[in-house]
Point group: C2
Chain length 145, copies 2
């Protein structure tokens, strides 16, 4: 977990929520706090629910899902689905552009950045004659032991 990123995002989140007229209710505050810490790479919506319920911090999963959805609409989170169709979220931060690496052995997902790969994507888009608006890359593999 990257503390600088966490704080930057928290600051932005607070600003965005205030601007949108959203109040600091219990569920919302807790979800934001969890995402700032654990949402720097993909977290399952279910995991967020469980983490908050274990702590007794949030009463219902509906609230968690609702807040995650809201934060996504505000551009604070990015939503995706895992292989099984379960919702996952991660912080949406312009300066933290990254892709995902899935370990075939453990199933664990981690983030990576690679400037050359980015350039290759841009070059490919040019060859295809499209104006690129986004892209996602998932690498699957194993770490040699």
């Amino acid at each position: 977990m990257n503390p600088a990123l966490r704080d930057r995002w928290l600051a932005r989140a607070e600003r965005s929520m205030a601007e949108a007229g959203l109040r600091a209710g219990a569920a919302r505050s807790r979800v934001v706090a969890v995402m700032a810490e654990d949402g720097q790479c993909l977290v399952g919506a279910r995991d967020v629910v469980d983490r908050l319920r274990d702590r007794g911090a949030v009463g219902s999963q509906a609230s968690v899902y609702r807040v995650l959805d809201e934060l996504t609409s505000l551009g604070l989170l990015r939503r995706s689905l895992d292989d099984q169709g379960l919702a996952q979220y991660e912080i949406d931060d312009a300066a933290h552009h990254h892709h995902h690496l899935v370990d075939e052995d453990t199933g664990r997902v981690e983030a990576f950045e690679d400037a050359d790969l980015e350039e290759a994507v841009i070059a490919a888009a040019r060859r295809l004659g499209i104006e690129l608006t986004g892209h996602e890359i998932v690498l699957r593999g194993r770490r040699p032991s």
Copy 2:
């Protein structure tokens, strides 16, 4: 739709199914036929169901889902999920390695191949120190009009 690919896949499908002791029931045959034609790029499971039901070719969606799942287990199809978590399938053919390009305007998905991009992926995996077992790339963009 590429007829050569269709025929190659149909032949392989027939062989694999026979080897597995699967019989040529109505539902299975129809699903295979549809996938050979329309499954060269991602098709929604639901679309397959609808297409076959409109034709009166298959009585229940359960059969379609079952067959799609079977074909995936046999390595004949590859399964994924769209943005909304709906199941999608496409032909799994070694010689037809491709990625996907999503048109931001229409939402339509099409396949593309790009050798340089493939190399960039391999190079990135090497830099990351992983043994690559697979990868997926989704490009989003729009075609300049």
